[in-house]
Symmetry: C2
Subunit: 213 residues, 2 copies
């Protein structure tokens, strides 16, 4: 792997390549040209080659890419060959939905704990794990080597909770709270602002743009 900085735009496209290659692999396709991949994914072949060149190119263009090799290599680049242990903070509908989403486990994301402030939720289970009071969260993170926190709480408490997460060793926050977090350098944040996404859709309906994301 090269050490130089890869742009977040390229990184943002890797999961989609991984997804398409996984499907090709499952269909038994062994090799694919950048042209065919381009056609399938509706991006230019030149973009694909440029993106892959960030990681050394993954093999000869004329001969096409070996699908399984490419799938595995992109998986490794994405860190999917390692395990990540995560907790969910906020056991409302969205938090419970994410806890129940079994596909994450396939990618090496291990659901370890779920926390909430609401006493009426205590003892309820999400995929076999009892919802715990948020007071126990800090100790739990330290004792269970948690890497990732999924933040599914209202925006009011999110900034303060994010600080606690970072103080206790969390390296990455998957943020569904409707607020931008301010974290130290080296802590990763990936925002999923659902309302923002819905507003973008609203704009595109209102303006009847033909552009698809």
């Amino acid at each position: 792997m090269e050490e130089r900085e890869i742009s977040q735009a390229v990184i943002g496209r890797l999961p989609r390549y991984f997804r398409y290659l996984g499907e090709l692999k499952d269909e038994g396709v062994e090799r694919i040209s950048s042209q065919d991949l381009s056609h399938l994914m509706k991006v230019t072949a030149s973009q694909i080659r440029q993106d892959f060149n960030n990681f050394g190119g993954f093999g000869q263009q004329g001969y096409g890419y070996n699908v399984e090799y490419l799938y595995n290599e992109i998986g490794k680049i994405l860190g999917l060959d390692k395990q990540h242990r995560f907790i969910i903070v906020g056991a409302g509908n969205l938090g419970r939905a994410l806890g129940n989403y079994i596909n994450f486990e396939k990618r090496g994301f291990i659901f370890c704990g779920i926390f909430d402030v609401d006493p009426t939720l205590m003892g309820r289970e999400v995929r076999g794990i009892k919802i715990m009071p948020v007071d126990c969260m800090e100790q739990f993170i330290r004792e269970n080597e948690i890497d990732i926190a999924v933040l599914t709480i209202p925006k009011a408490g999110a900034v303060a909770v994010a600080e606690k997460l970072v103080q206790n060793g969390i390296r990455a926050i998957w943020n569904f709270a409707h607020v931008d977090l301010n974290v130290p350098d080296g802590i990763q944040v990936e925002n999923v602002h659902l309302s923002d996404s819905l507003m973008k859709l609203s704009y595109n309906i209102s303006n009847n743009s033909n552009t698809q994301k």
Copy 2:
């Protein structure tokens, strides 16, 4: 409003402006300079001015922007002054979580119906609305003037369901299914591929990049 095409990158930033301006408005702030907004939002003042220039600029730079005016104008651009009626297809955990997310209503998105294939879910309610069999979906869309469908089903059925949605008059799909949809021109799709987002986080942990999205 101007007729020329605005880039999806600019549109993608509008909800975030709207969110910050809403908070400023709630805090009683009446005017803000592009410099102060820049500092708050951690984007350059030049980017803000460029973005706003796509819509006529929203007032003098030296004097600063009128917060409430700007908030309302961006809301109108986003189409939030209109009502949109939506259904949810897929009443699993995520579908029910989105149905229960009351904030959408504040933005003019009216939750009208929720559908599933699973007979054991029939009769269960999501925010006062009974889950209906997916066989009733097409008629329901036509009879209830539904604009938007939220797709929260596994990828296997998603492409076929999307076709039915479009045939019955849906104008926009908020797609949580883990597959890219292929829809006719003029139909808007906004993808929320949660696994892609989590993989991006995984990459950034593994490579310990300091870049925040």
